[in-house]
């Protein structure tokens, strides 16, 4: 049962800020509602007003820019999943989106809403973190951009001020020889463990590598030592084997949190299992047109 609330339906950011300000803080932003309305139903949150962001054109749409992709925060998972631009510029994201929750959630849930909610067992943030994406926040006082790690501060907790709106996700274009991939294991509705890899191949060797983990830690984290372990290694699946082993060892330092999916050591192990296949996927993309 969703508790009663009033609805504001602004058309512009300024209207949105005014509507929010008029509530004396007793408001929340509404986009797809797949997370917010669920939390309200469960009795965890109640707001006098929901300010609906679906009418703001500036939050919608996917654009390719000189630097990469700009995805409006209110773009639905389905739109991202089926976008020709995303398929071309960031196939790993399109593939990730195909596996988010279920077809109904993807019809209405938005990428921005997903990130703003910061559910720790969620897909996109882990990949976006690896890809070096940033988010744009607009508030009554102005606009700012934060990296994913600056934005996601804790489980269900972000750097967004209550009156700020997440407006867009900006993903840098893949460099030459760069590949990005995401892998997850899910035993329940949400992932138990996830891993994302971004690596760049030059002259047959891994020149740069970023490894992130999600769902096993409180927030998606960059595992720097895991990325470092891959750098300089031969850029073929078999040659990378020992380096992947060393990268997995780097997961040993993570503060993995036990949950219903399993205890900490098991979830850490799952991330290790995922790393191998995810590195191979990233490698395949990196070397596809080489």
């Amino acid at each position: 049962m969703i508790p009663r609330f009033a609805l504001a339906r602004p058309r512009t950011l300024d209207e949105a800020f005014s509507a929010f300000a008029a509530t004396d803080g007793d408001a929340a932003w509404l986009a797809g509602g797949t997370e917010l309305l669920q939390v309200m139903k469960m009795g965890f949150a109640q707001f006098g007003t929901l300010v609906d962001l679906k009418g703001l054109d500036e939050l919608r749409g996917i654009r390719r820019t000189a630097d990469g992709l700009r995805i409006g925060a209110a773009t639905t998972h389905r739109e991202v999943e089926r976008s020709a631009d995303v398929a071309e510029a960031f196939p790993a994201l399109a593939s990730l989106e195909r596996g988010v929750a279920n077809v109904r959630v993807r019809s209405t849930g938005t990428l921005g809403g997903n990130l703003a909610f910061a559910e720790p067992h969620s897909d996109p943030a882990t990949l976006l973190l690896a890809a070096g994406a940033s988010v744009e926040l607009a508030g009554p006082g102005g606009v700012r951009a934060l990296s994913v790690s600056e934005f996601v501060l804790g489980p269900l907790f972000t750097a967004r001020e209550a009156d700020e709106i997440l407006t867009a996700i900006v993903v840098p274009a893949a460099a030459d020889g760069e590949g990005r991939a995401y892998g997850k294991l899910a035993f329940f509705e949400r992932p138990a463990a996830s891993v994302a890899v971004r690596l760049q191949v030059r002259d047959g060797r891994v020149a740069a590598a970023t490894v992130t983990v999600g769902s096993i830690t409180e927030v998606p984290e960059v595992v720097a030592a895991a990325g470092d372990a891959l750098i300089g290694e031969p850029a073929d699946a078999s040659g990378l084997g020992p380096a992947i082993g060393r990268a997995i060892e780097a997961f040993g330092d993570l503060d993995v949190v036990e949950d219903l999916n399993g205890s900490a050591d098991y979830k850490r192990h799952l991330a290790g299992v995922l790393l191998g296949s995810t590195v191979r996927d990233a490698l395949a993309e990196a070397t596809a047109d080489a």
């Binding site: 609805l7 109904r104 019809s107």
Partner: protein, 183 residues
Amino acid sequence: MRELIVTSLTVNGQLRELAIEPRETLADILRDRLGLTGTKVSCDAQVCGACTVLVDGLPVSGCTFLAVDAEGKRVRTVEGLATDGVLSPLQQAFVDEAAFQCGFCTPGMLMAATALLEDEPHPSRDQVIHGLEGNLCRCTGYEPIVNAVLAVANRANGANGANGANGANGANGANGAADRGPA
């Protein structure tokens, strides 16, 4: 004080205008205001799919979709599948395959499968399985549901379509509904 928002939507082809509280879900108004009780709410958490309805052709969870967000949109429910008393090919296939038992998941399952087939008229068995992964059925174990969807898909393909290997029941289904119009 209850705020009411006058909302116009098309439900199964009929234009409806309703004064809706913002908190009311699409499932609420379909069931309680329009008497379309075919749509069922089960998990109330967007997991089970029992409340699946189509909004502008896309499957959504009626339990969590705000009714006011259906403004100007076309909503389709299980009650809109049959035309002039003739079951849709998918409904007929559900009857033929006994793709239900208790029937509580069935309306949502039919809507999800309808969306699946509109999106991909010739799905493989694997596509059907993955396409319906988000719809739960506790009675059947899914086999007859998958077979029913494939029966319709194979009929659309012609009896020996690309999925012939999957469609052991396709031929039966085709005979059973040959006179029921195009899929």
